[in-house]
Amino acid sequence: MSELVREVLPNLSESDILSIREQFPILGRTVHNKPLVFFDNGASSQMPLSVIERLTTYHRFEHANVHRGVHYLSQSATDSYEKVRGKVQQFINAKHEEEIVWTYGTTDAINFVAASLSQFYFKEGDEILLTEMEHHANIVSWQIHAVAKGAKIKVIPVLDNGELDLDAFEKLLTEKVKFVSLIHISNVLGTVNPVEYIIHKAHEKNIPVLIDGAQSAPHERVDVQQLDCDFFVFSAHKVYGPTGVGVLYGKREWLEKMPPVRGGGDMIREVSFEKTTFNDVPHKFEAGTPNINGVIAFGAAIDFIHSIGIERIAAHELNLLQYATERISELEKVKILGTASNKASIISLIMDGIHPHDAGTILDLDGIAVRTGHHCAQPLMKRFNLPATTRASFAVYNTTSEIDIFIQSLKKVQRILS
């Protein structure tokens, strides 16, 4: 997280957070008769009223299919839908609007890149560099598509503190490597990887890089031009938007070279049984009726983030991370997995002699939602010799009081189970 964050803007105050919380009706509910403490934002974040209402308004007054019909509703829906592309372009500072491709999520986006590149780019013996901390989406996609074409996967190891082994990375970066794909912020360790450095090193050898930004888009300002990544992917539902919408950012030179993977309406120019020509980038990659209401609601989610400011959200979350880390260190027999020097507000706990599922159920009974399991990162779990962790991940609406409740409940878990 750059120091720029704290210099420029004042932090969110307690009353700011309270008014933000009021925008999330779900935060007012109870679970097992306890107030909900939602610490599972790494899996999916909540939507504020403005986004919920945008969805409802769209369907009350505006909906029609966006395939450029001539009637009013179709044109107005198309307009609202296409406007969001520009919003996302600004959100991640892409150079061109056409570098924003709609997908159905991060996993969908990575699968698309893997499938499309596998049609023309990977050859027998080519190497793809991944890391030991990747989410399954950024492992299995390459296995299904690229390995089938004879490409090999090589893995950058993770050090005990949860950081990437950069020495190993440099040694792995041989002439055989044709692609690097890595996670920006680990959904298990919270580690913020030095992606600019890795991209720079890869580009020295003309190797393109995809960054999995599923956990970075919610937690810090993303500038794809500054990063200079060739591809950047993330999901709307992790940044206060709806499920079923994802973004693939690709540098125009890449998108223009890449063949489409899905065929159908809207991605074509002319269709005949003899020959079909494709539409321009990005529509070339968007076959069929898109997730129209999802994209439009996503636009409202971006507006919500801008109404607060991503840097202020980031600063607040880092405060929560610091506070939680301090309070957890007071507990005995509880360890945080991953102590990288640069972390985001994602905390995986290991509790001595206590299985994460049991901890998770007892926390659930106290109204606290955390995620327990391998977090779609089985190779990472194996590397640390763990079946699972208990993960708390924060968002803008979480508070230090909620962390206090969490700590009390962790103490109860220990009393009951050890």
Partner: protein
């Protein structure tokens, strides 16, 4: 409080000091099952006599408290019982998760296993309690296969 029902004394006792825990020195059949979802793993070791009665049983494994407690109580329950008895237990056990009230006969049959009726509210944890049962079923099937091929 619901918390004490599910993670009450009985479950804690069984998960911390499971009964019949350990690799058997002698056994007719052993079978291991692993949950792909969470990595919990259970191995059962059985000796059976000619009338398909479970002479001795032990288990090893790693996993959550619910899995271990289920394995512990189950292992004690099936000792010296027939395979037919076990199948009856299994049917009653499954009904714990779906029926609103436990029948008196079921309760008598299942003994301590009734604590798992709280899992009605935690469907995601039912798999944890079921893993040892599934392992035992497969162990018995495996034994039947071995027996059927014997000359």
């Amino acid at each position: 409080m619901i918390s004490t029902e599910l993670y009450g004394d009985i479950l804690r006792k069984h998960s911390k000091s499971p009964l019949n825990y350990g690799v058997a020195e002698q056994f007719d059949v052993s079978y291991n099952e692993k949950s792909p979802l969470c990595g919990d793993t259970v191995t059962f070791y059985l000796t059976l006599n000619d009338s398909y009665q479970i002479d001795s049983v032990s288990f090893t494994g790693t996993g959550c408290a619910i899995c271990l407690a289920s394995a512990s109580i189950l292992s004690e329950l099936v000792k010296k019982k027939s395979i037919a008895d076990f199948e009856m237990f299994f049917e009653s056990f499954n009904r714990l998760f779906s029926e609103p009230l436990i029948e008196e006969n079921s309760a008598k049959l299942l003994g301590d296993l009734v604590i798992f009726s709280s899992l009605k509210e935690f469907p995601a944890r039912q798999k944890c309690a079921l893993l040892p049962w599934q392992t035992l079923i497969k162990a018995i099937e495996s034994y039947k296969n071995i027996e059927s091929i014997k000359p």
